[in-house]
Symmetry: C2
Subunit: 374 residues, 2 copies
C-alpha cells in the first residue's frame, strides 16, 4: 500500500537507479512497537529527502492453526490501528505491517527492534546478512543478558547480543515513555545511547518531534541498563503500594533503586559517566515506571493476592508480560555469581519476594538497613 | 513537667555542679516542628548520657486578645498532642512546650529552627546572645534569601541569615519527609548539610533512628537549595496534575526541575558537588513533594479554579501557607537580576502562572523547548 499524500514525482534515485533514501523497519508490533510506529511514521514522512516514506513493521502472527480471523498485520493495514495492543490510536498510513520478518526487514538501513528479550536470538538468526550494507540497529528492548566465556558467566547487554548476531552496530532508546501517551502525541522525552555519534544523530532524526524530545549520549551501557533495571525498582514500588507503605518509603525506594542502578553500572562498566542518571532514561523513566507502569501494577497485585505471577499477568496485561520479574532473576544470578548481592538489597529483595523466599518484613528491613546508610 | 520514666539518680553534673549534657530546643510548633519533636523526643531520651532529656519546644501563641482557650503550648503539655497542626499523633512526654521563646531557648546548646522563613529575623533578634557558649543551630526552613551589598543584590541562604543574626554555625536538614509519616514513625530518610562534620555528626545523633535514616554531607548549600527549590518544582507538578497532563509530562517536569535546581546551585555556589542530588534532599524529596506535598496540592487547585492563592491556602491548609509561590517569586527576582531566567523556564513559569502572566500553553511550551534539549 503506497503512502498517501506523498509526492512520487521527485527523483530519489541515485546513478544506478536505486532509491538512495534509507529504509526503516520496525521489528515488533506490541504495545510499544505500535506506539513508536506512530512517531516514526510521522518523522520519516516529514523527511522524505532522507528516509523512504514507507516504514515497515513486522508483527508476529500469533493466530492458532485454523483461526481464520485477520492477523495483526492485516488488521493494521486495513484499519490503521492495533486493537489488541494499542487500541484507539491511529497508526499513520505510511506504516505498512507484515507477518513476514524478511519482507519487513530485507535491505533495511535502520532496524528498530521492539520485541521481548526472549525473541531476539531467533529474529537475529533469520535476519543475519539480510540488511542493507552499512545498516545499523536500535534496541528498545528492556532486560539484561549474560554470556559464558571460558566457563565464566559474564554480564552482557542485549544490544551487544544483537550486534554479535547481526554484525551491525546497535544503539538503544530508553526513557520515560508510557506507550499510550507517546502514541497520543503527548509531550515526553527519551534518551538514545549509541557507540557512534553519527548513528546517534541519524537516529535522533528518526525519533525526535516537537513533542517527543530526544537527547543523545555515548554512555550507551548506562542508558540500556537504566532501561532494564528500572523495571526491578518498579516492582519494589509496586510491593510498597500493595502493602500500603507511605510516600516517604516509595520515594526512598526510587532513590535507593537509582543508586543501586548506578552502582550496578559502575561495577560492570566502570568507564560509564555519572550524568546519564539525570537523563530521561534515568530518573524520569524510573519515576514514570514506579507510578504508571505495568511492572508496578503487577507487583502490587502479586503481593496483595495468592495468585501466581502468570495468572496476574494474564488478568492485568492481556497476554503481555512484565519484564521486571525475569530481569530481577537475571540480575540476582549475576549478583550471586559476583558475590555482591548484599550491596543490592532492593534488586535482591524483589527476586526473593517473587520466588517466595522473602516476606514483607525482610523487604522493609532491607530498605531501613540499606548499605547507603553505612 | 519532668520527664517520666527517667532515672534522675545518676549524676550528670560536672565539677561546677552544672549538668554537662546538651540542651536541645525546637523553635516552631507547626506541622513539621511537631513531627520532628516526635523524633527528637525519643532520640534524646535514649541518649541521656549525652543530651538533657527534656526537649523544649516554642510554639507561637496565636490567640487573639480575649481568647481564653488554651494556647498551643498549653494543649501540648496537657494532652501531648498538637490538635491544630498534627492531630492524632502523640508527642513524647519529655517534649515540653512553652509560648515564651526565651524560656524555650535560653542556654540551649542545639537550636532546631522550624519556622516559616518570614519569622526568622525577629526570632534571631530575640535570641542573640541567649544561647549556650559553643551552641550551634540547624534550620529545617525552606526558602531562599538575598542580601544587598554595595548596592548589589546577592543570593544568600536562610542558614546564612541565621548564622549572621545569631553568631553561631547553622546546619540544615532536608529530605523526603512528609510530617505525618515522620510522626507515625514510618520509614523515611533525611540529609543533614553542615559546614563542620563535628556538628553534623552530633546532629545525626539527635535525629537518626532505625526508621528515620540520616546521611550527613558538607555540601550544605546544595542541600538547603534542594529543600527550597523542590517546592517550586512541586507547583509545576501540581499545575500538570490540575491540567490533566500525563505521567510522562510529570516525570519530565521532575527531571527538568532537578536539573534546574542543579544548575541554580552551580551558578551561585560553583564549589558544590554533584552527588547531593542523589541524596534524600535531592531526588527523593522532589518525588515525595511532587506527589504528596502541600505545594503540589495548592498549585493543582489554583490552576483549576479562579480563586486567589490565599483563599486556596485557607481552604486546603487550614491557615498554614505553601512555600512554593513565595520561593518562586524570590527565585524569579534572583534570576532576573542575574539575567539568566531563560535558562530556568520551569522556575520562571511557576512564578508567572501564580502572578497571572502565563497560561497553560506557555507552560507546556516551556517544557517542550527546555534548554536541556539544545
Amino acid at each position: 500500500m503506497p503512502c498517501q499524500n506523498f509526492d512520487y514525482s521527485y527523483n530519489f534515485n541515485n546513478n544506478s537507479g536505486e532509491d538512495y533514501r534509507k529504509k526503516i523497519a520496525i521489528v515488533g508490533g506490541g504495545n510499544w512497537g505500535s506506539a513508536i510506529a506512530c512517531v516514526v511514521g510521522k518523522t520519516v514522512k516529514a523527511q522524505d529527502e532522507v528516509f523512504q516514506p514507507i516504514v515497515s513493521i513486522w508483527c508476529r502472527d500469533s493466530r492458532k492453526p485454523g483461526d481464520l480471523s485477520p492477523s495483526i498485520a492485516e488488521t493494521i493495514n486495513s484499519t490503521h490501528e492495533n486493537p489488541k495492543y494499542l487500541p484507539g490510536r491511529r497508526i499513520p498510513d505510511n506504516v505498512v505491517a507484515t507477518s513476514s520478518l524478511l519482507e519487513a526487514c530485507q535491505s533495511a538501513h535502520i532496524l528498530i527492534l521492539v520485541v521481548p528479550h526472549q525473541g531476539i536470538p531467533q529474529i537475529c538468526d533469520e535476519l543475519r546478512g539480510k540488511l542493507q550494507k552499512g545498516a545499523h540497529a536500535i534496541s528498545l528492548t528492556k532486560g539484561i543478558s549474560s554470556s559464558c566465556e571460558n566457563g565464566e558467566i559474564k554480564m552482557q547487554l542485549i544490544s551487544e547480543d544483537i550486534e554479535r548476531a547481526l554484525g551491525v552496530q546497535c544503539s538503544v532508546l530508553m526513557g520515560a515513555n508510557l506507550a499510550g501517551e507517546v502514541a497520543d502525541g503527548k509531550f515526553c522525552e527519551a534518551t538514545i545511547g549509541c557507540k557512534s555519534l553519527k548513528n546517534g544523530e541519524e537516529l535522533k532524526k528518526v525519533f525526535d518531534t516537537p513533542n517527543f524530545r530526544i537527547r543523545v549520549t555515548t554512555d550507551y551501557e548506562a542508558v540500556e541498563l537504566c532501561g532494564a533495571l528500572k523495571n526491578i525498582v518498579a516492582c519494589a514500588a509496586g510491593f510498597a503500594d500493595g502493602l500500603g507503605w507511605a510516600y516517604n518509603v516509595k520515594s526512598a525506594i526510587i532513590r535507593l533503586g537509582l543508586l543501586e542502578t548506578k552502582k550496578f553500572v559502575e561495577h560492570f562498566y566502570p568507564s560509564s559517566v555519572g550524568h546519564t542518571y539525570f537523563e530521561s532514561c534515568g530518573v524520569a523513566d524510573l519515576i514514570t515506571t514506579c507510578y504508571g507502569g505495568r511492572n508496578r501494577k503487577v507487583a502490587e497485585a502479586f503481593i496483595k493476592s495468592d495468585k501466581p505471577l502468570r495468572v496476574i499477568e494474564q488478568e492485568l496485561l492481556k497476554g503481555q508480560s512484565a519484564q521486571g520479574p525475569p530481569t530481577a532473576q537475571d540480575v540476582y544470578e549475576m549478583l550471586e555469581i559476583n558475590e555482591i548481592s548484599e550491596k543490592f538489597p532492593i534488586f535482591a529483595s524483589v527476586h526473593k519476594v517473587f520466588t517466595g523466599h522473602h516476606g514483607e518484613q525482610e523487604l522493609y528491613d532491607s530498605l531501613r538497613n540499606h548499605p547507603e546508610y553505612d
